[in-house]
């Protein structure tokens, strides 16, 4: 290793990289010195991966990062998501039970726009002429009514080939109970067409519910060739640079996995961007001693938000990938099409609206001076005076307030109001759009948001966060020092995490205990083997959950279990935890209700690096504003202190209204807010009651 002779032998870099729509974000930590470097580079959609290398070069130039000193390299990529959204995935065939070829098209029937006669479903990723029915039938108890007809498989392979498919997804009824039919058909396909890749639904995620399982397997196959190709190229590029670390990939479940697995289990990384944002936020929150957080990540076109309860992200299934639901455990993140680039318009009834149309990153808001002419949320912020006092995005964008004023002015001419009043109304409407979606999420989760602190990140989160927090009635906000790289940080700190599932669908009774114990033992073994395969050498943490319900209910709830209870056969403890969970989520429980265990789930965790960032002692004192600027606050002109984030030191205090400018974003702080800089350089905002 000749590079180490250059004198960097002591350095140990851990690098997290997250690709967004416009920028790729780097968060790099040198563990001995605690030095943290962050960086934004424009994405290169035509050559995914090239921007990564540019970033590494810049880190080397600016921070002296030597590739050979990189001991951990974690990457979150949107290649899979983009493949689905742009419909550029593999040409696939689906082999399934004859008589049930339309399961993926019928889906769950209900459509989102129930009041529209034009409501419709998306075109399927596998069109109906590539769905082949194979006579076969497994019963729900795992007994076989009819074996797969292998002659039909041969015909289907020939027909699929004639259609030019690259791979085949095999999904048969009741594979959650016994995947024998899927395995037999897969073996037959492999024999007849070894050049086609094949995924079975049970190997992707063996959960009960045929549509959900099939569609998840299809997503996996659809993105497989692209992700696999991308990861191979990435490995080669990193190796060529001399990076010794095996790249790790962030997963939708908030954990990481190695690239070898990423090539197979592509579907597990589809939502990793949003997930690692929440993981990063949860980590920052724990550092700051907060355990109930509402995260808010606002970009140019959309806002993502999630709840952190007891310091932990919440999990769910059925998150949307483009137009398709993904049914693997994922960090629960909600989304709305409102961001800094959302366009404001006035309708025929003179009602002002914001979004869902967005100016995106090209041309972007009018104030970017790149040809955008329609007023956006960012332009409204500029007109009000909150923005435009410093360069944005690490100096890569200059604000042009005159363009913002002209754009908002065109709307003002139609509303008959002043430019400032129109700008304020744009902000009020944008905030109210976010308000609806956050309130919905909170009521679904059954939480009282007033117990939560808001953590805004992304380019637009700090800009709108305090205004939204005030609307939601939150009392506090925690603004991290580097909001642009929270997702990259999430990857940096994430654990290895593998999920395993056994569907049992049995009543909770002594008779089921042996099966439960066996399932746990098997999954524990799989979990340990998985971690070993990932190269994990440290301690192993196994989390056990069951999806349970009262007999007759058609939904399950996730209930955490102690492995001990199974060993002891303590059914009362299991039932008690379920009743309590049910009461917490649904406000009631049924002591006499018969309980069913639908799934048993195990997560195997290998702890990520335990990182510490330097902290400084707090010095009590007033922060000094750099200068005073004029801002239209809630409709009235006010003199507002402008602070530089880089100048703020722990312990300093100041009060809103205020503007805090930093290299990657600007914080707007409304009147009455008390601000304190904490030891981690977070800004702690407290709003007036």
């Amino acid at each position: 290793m000749p590079m180490s002779e250059k004198g960097n032998a002591a350095a140990d870099w851990k690098v997290g990289v997250d690709i967004g729509g416009t920028f790729i974000d780097f968060c790099a930590l040198e563990t001995h010195s605690g030095r943290m470097a962050s960086l934004k580079v424009l994405t290169t959609p035509d050559d995914p991966g090239a921007e990564l290398m540019t970033g590494l070069s810049l880190l080397a130039e600016r921070e002296g990062l030597d590739p050979i000193a990189v001991s951990r390299f974690v990457h979150g990529t949107t290649v899979g998501m983009n493949t689905v959204i742009q419909r550029k995935g593999a040409s696939l065939a689906l082999f399934t039970n004859a008589g049930f070829e339309d399961v993926i098209e019928l889906a769950r029937l209900r459509m989102p726009e129930t009041y529209s006669l034009f409501c419709s479903r998306p075109d399927q990723l596998v069109s109906r002429d590539r769905v082949f029915g194979i006579p076969a039938r497994m019963r729900s108890d795992g007994s076989e009514a009819a074996p797969p007809d292998l002659a039909s498989v041969a015909d289907a392979v020939a027909a699929a080939r004639a259609k030019g498919v690259a791979g085949i997804v095999v999904s048969f009824l009741h594979a959650w109970r016994d995947d024998g039919h899927e395995r037999r058909v897969k073996a037959e396909v492999a024999r007849l067409a070894p050049d086609l890749f094949v995924f079975t639904s049970a190997e992707v995620w063996p959960v009960i519910r045929e549509y959900e399982r099939t569609t998840t397997a299809i997503l996996n196959g659809y993105v497989h060739p692209r992700i696999s190709g991308y990861l191979t190229a990435l490995e080669e590029r990193l190796a060529a640079r001399g990076v010794p670390a095996t790249p790790l990939l962030t997963k939708s479940n908030g954990g990481v996995m190695n690239a070898a697995e990423g090539k197979r289990s592509c579907v597990k990384m589809l939502l990793s961007g949003a997930a690692s944002g929440v993981i990063g936020a949860a980590w920052l929150a724990r550092q700051a001693g907060e355990d109930r957080i509402l995260t808010l990540d606002i970009g140019g076109t959309s806002a993502d938000f999630a709840l952190i309860v007891d310091g932990q992200p919440q999990f769910g299934t059925g998150e949307m990938i483009g137009e398709f639901p993904l049914h693997i455990p994922s960090v629960a993140v909600s989304s709305i099409g409102i961001g800094g680039g959302s366009i404001a318009s006035v309708d025929e009834q003179a009602i002002l609206r914001v979004g869902p149309e967005s100016a995106g990153s090209t041309p972007g808001p009018a104030c970017y001076g790149r040809g955008g002419e329609r007023a956006t949320v960012t332009d409204a912020m500029v007109v009000c005076g909150w923005l435009g006092h410093s360069a944005m995005a690490y100096g890569q964008l200059q604000m042009d307030p005159a363009q913002a004023r002209a754009a908002v002015g065109r709307l003002a001419a139609r509303t008959g109001r002043s430019v400032e009043a129109t700008a304020q109304a744009i902000l009020d409407v944008a905030i109210s759009e976010l308000f609806v979606e956050v309130e919905k999420m909170a009521s679904r989760a059954g939480v009282d948001l007033r117990d939560f602190a808001l953590m805004p990140f992304g380019g637009g989160g700090p800009m709108l966060g305090a205004l939204l927090a005030r609307e939601l009635g939150l009392r506090r906000m925690l603004a991290p020092r580097r909001p642009g790289v929270v997702s990259a940080l999430g990857g940096l700190v994430a654990d290895l995490r593998g999920d395993f599932i056994r569907t049992l669908f049995r009543p909770l009774s002594p008779a089921v205990l042996p099966d439960l114990r066996e399932a746990v033992a098997q999954m524990a073994e799989e979990g340990r083997a998985w971690l070993a395969e990932q190269g994990h050498r440290g301690p192993v943490d196994l989390l056990l959950h069951a999806d349970m319900r009262y007999a007759g209910q058609s939904y399950e709830i996730e209930t955490s279990l102690d492995a001990d209870w199974l060993a002891r056969g303590d059914l009362d403890a299991i039932a008690g935890r379920f009743h309590a969970t049910h009461a917490r989520l649904y406000d009631f429980f049924d002591e006499k209700g018969h309980i069913e265990i639908v799934n048993l789930r195990l997560s195997a965790l290998g702890a990520g690096p335990s990182l510490a960032f330097p902290q400084a002692e707090e010095i009590d004192g007033e922060a000094l504003a750099e200068r005073s600027i004029a801002v239209h606050v809630d409709g009235a002109l006010a003199q507002v202190g402008l602070y530089r984030r880089a100048d703020l030191v722990p312990g300093q205090r100041f009060a809103g209204p205020a503007v805090v400018a930093q290299e990657d974003t600007t914080l707007a702080i409304p009147p009455g807010t008390q601000v304190r800089v904490d030891r981690h350089l977070n800004l702690q905002l407290t709003f007036p009651e």
Partner: protein, 659 residues
């Protein structure tokens, strides 16, 4: 006056409140009806009881224009913490069948009522003659379960235990009812809290003004849409296959008149009230929400940005004469009004399709069958009652794309259950669940395909009910040259020696090994099928949506060995006749209307309107019995004469009936 530039802010807060209520109810409810089927509503109402906010993502789609005014007035002395309720369709026409239990709660601010929160749940059972309280065969409301007139259920935060005990005593699943009602009471409290938060934010007067501005805004949007439509008068009829056990068609008829920014919907000519539970209790309210559901769909389709609230209903006036199927008098049964309401929607769609032909789709399948199974689990010997998938059909061909397959349009709110879940819980085995080839109406844009479902049972005397079965005789219509869709069907053991075709009945008894096959209707086609690009037809053939024969017969597209034969297609299309009329109904309805002409129906309507209400259905049935070999107004008159001869003490119809 509320600052209109900020109306969207208030609208969003209102929507957040309504979504909050809906999620709270769905989250805490006990029954599958509320949690899964989402047969519930919640709403925010102004001081007069007019709905100004509903959720958009959860719940039923029938109630954004509901007015609780009459119900509110039937209870005295509201106090903070009170909740009132009713499920009696005839008390105030807020509930429209007995299982629907409506609750409302005053929102007090500074000692005065500033708004109401309200909503309904569909109770799994309210007692009465049959489980679930619903059957087409019931003939009077007393058979449909216990009814509670408007009264307080909660007094200043305390439930009236006597009322709960009466309910518990009379219904089959009391725990579900009580659990759901308590969940709704919780949701109403959530709504109350959110209303008070809005008053806190906007100020009391601004909130009150803003609510009226929301209603005015919706009204203005509806009026703007009507102004964009041409003035004129259009008539349209559609039929439910069977009006009762008598199995005559039930006709719904509308005369739509658009003048400027207003519309009149005159339902005169619709059948007399029925001796079955298909009646729709509107109370003759000229803006009853249940008469206007089709309007919500039309308006929302034309402009998805509209606010859904009572303001939308203001430009519309309905006339539903007393004693007709759309305005029955006590004690007519009303439990299965949902079947009639589906047909009512297609009548409204048909009327507007003539007014604005370019902008609306063809008829949706319009038969939203809910399938229930009662059988025995051979392993446990226990009786199992379960809902199997709904069997619904496709949407009509749209102006810009094909109708949605297997669901869509006004059926898009329904959900299915995974086959793997059903088979694990219920001793049935599915044989097929998919789309039915050639069931969508042909057209430039094809109608959505029907759903085809078949399953097997294993225990003797397994009883199946298929509520809302319809469209087994009268097809979903096509428009603008597009053709009518395939019919619904139900059969036991199809294709075997034991085959039994079940026509339009909605129940079946199955024996071990029997397979029940249920097919919905499809969606109607839109535009001339000869104008559909041949590649689309070939693609439909490849996908199995259209057979090679139908491609040739209906589209004039010749497919040979999986490929388009361009020359043969050109030749064939040149010789195919066009369908010139606005609607295409199919041979069944054309044949029926050759006898039952518009004149015949005009005559019948006049005769029946002249009879006392309790004679009307009887007279209709007797006249129908005597129509074979007859047609037109004259035929009706002759049939009437025979009826009068047979029943000499039948009163003479009041105006011109005796002829």
């Amino acid at each position: 006056m509320f600052d209109r530039m900020n109306l969207r802010v208030l609208a969003n807060h209102v929507r957040a409140a309504a979504e909050n209520m809906a999620h709270t109810l769905q989250r805490t409810a006990h029954s599958a009806f509320v949690k899964e089927t989402e047969d519930f509503t919640v709403m925010l109402m102004n001081r007069k009881g007019e709905t100004f906010g509903v959720p958009m993502e959860l719940g039923a789609t029938w109630f954004p224009g509901l007015t609780y005014g009459r119900a509110l007035a039937m209870v005295d002395d509201y106090r903070p913490g009170d909740v009132a309720f009713t499920n009696d369709p005839y008390a105030c026409y807020v509930a429209t069948h007995v299982p629907d239990t409506h609750l409302w709660k005053p929102v007090f601010h500074d000692g005065e009522i500033v708004a109401w929160t309200g909503g309904h749940i569909h109770n799994t059972d309210m007692g009465g003659a049959v489980p679930a309280s619903l059957s087409r065969a019931l003939t009077e409301i007393h058979q449909e379960g216990i009814r509670f007139p408007p009264m307080k259920l909660v007094n200043e935060g305390v439930f009236d235990e006597q009322i709960l005990r009466i309910m518990v005593t009379n219904v089959r699943k009391p725990d579900l009812n009580i659990g759901d009602i308590k969940a709704l009471v919780g949701a109403l409290a959530t709504g109350e809290r959110k209303v008070l938060a809005m008053i806190d934010k906007f100020g009391k007067q601004a909130f009150l003004d803003g609510v009226e501005a929301l209603l005015d805004h919706a009204e203005a949007e509806a009026r703007a849409m009507l102004r964009d439509m041409p003035d004129g008068t259009w008539t349209f009829s559609d039929y439910a296959d069977e009006d009762s056990v008598e199995a005559n068609p039930c006709r719904l008829h509308v005369t739509l008149t658009i003048r400027g920014d207003e519309a009149l919907l005159d339902f005169t000519g619709s059948d007399p009230q029925l001796a079955s539970s298909l009646n729709v209790p509107s109370g003759g309210d000229p803006r009853h929400t249940i008469l206007l559901v089709g309007i919500y769909y039309v308006l929302y389709t034309l402009n998805p940005k509209i606010l859904l609230n009572t303001g939308l209903t203001r430009p519309f006036t309905c006339i539903a004469p007393e004693g007709t199927v759309l305005n029955p008098v006590f004690p007519a049964a009303v439990g299965m009004r949902s079947l009639t309401c589906a047909r009512l929607r297609s009548v409204i769609f048909g009327a507007f399709s003539q007014a604005i032909p370019d902008r609306l789709p063809a008829a949706p399948a319009g038969n939203n069958c809910i399938v229930n199974v009662m059988t025995t689990d051979e392993r446990t010997r226990r009786t199992v009652i379960a809902a199997v998938n709904p069997v619904v059909g496709g949407g009509g061909g749209m102006p810009h794309r094909d109708g949605t397959n297997g669901s869509g349009a006004d059926a898009a709110y329904l959900k299915n259950t995974p086959i793997e879940i059903t088979e694990t819980e219920t001793p049935v085995e599915f044989v097929r669940y998919g789309l039915a080839r050639d069931s969508g109406g042909a057209g430039r844009w094809r109608g959505g395909l029907a759903t085809d479902m078949a399953f097997r049972v294993f225990a003797p005397d397994s009883r199946i009910t298929v509520r809302n079965r319809d469209r087994s005789f009268f097809r979903p219509w096509g428009v603008l040259g597009g053709r009518a869709a395939g019919l619904s069907d139900m059969a036991v053991n199809p294709g075997s020696a034991e085959e039994r075709r079940l026509g339009n009945v909605d129940t079946a008894v199955l024996q071990p090994g029997d397979v029940l096959s249920i097919r919905s209707a499809g969606g109607g086609g839109r535009g001339d099928p000869r104008e559909r690009e041949p590649w689309r037809v070939v693609q439909d053939v490849e996908r199995g949506y259209v057979s090679v024969e139908a491609a040739e017969r209906d589209y004039g597209v010749v497919v040979r060995d999986g490929r388009l034969d361009e020359a043969a297609t050109r030749l064939l299309r040149a010789t195919m006749p066009a369908h010139g009329a606005h609607f295409h109904f199919g041979p069944e309805r054309d044949g029926y209307e050759a006898r039952w002409t518009p004149d015949a129906y005009e005559r019948l309507t006049a005769i029946l309107a002249g009879l006392p209400i309790h004679w009307r259905f009887f007279a209709k049935t007797e006249i129908f019995r005597r129509m074979s070999g007859r047609s037109g107004a004259e035929g009706v008159q002759h049939a009437l004469a025979q009826v009068q001869a047979r029943f000499p003490n039948m009163p003479a119809p009041a105006t011109g009936g005796a002829g």
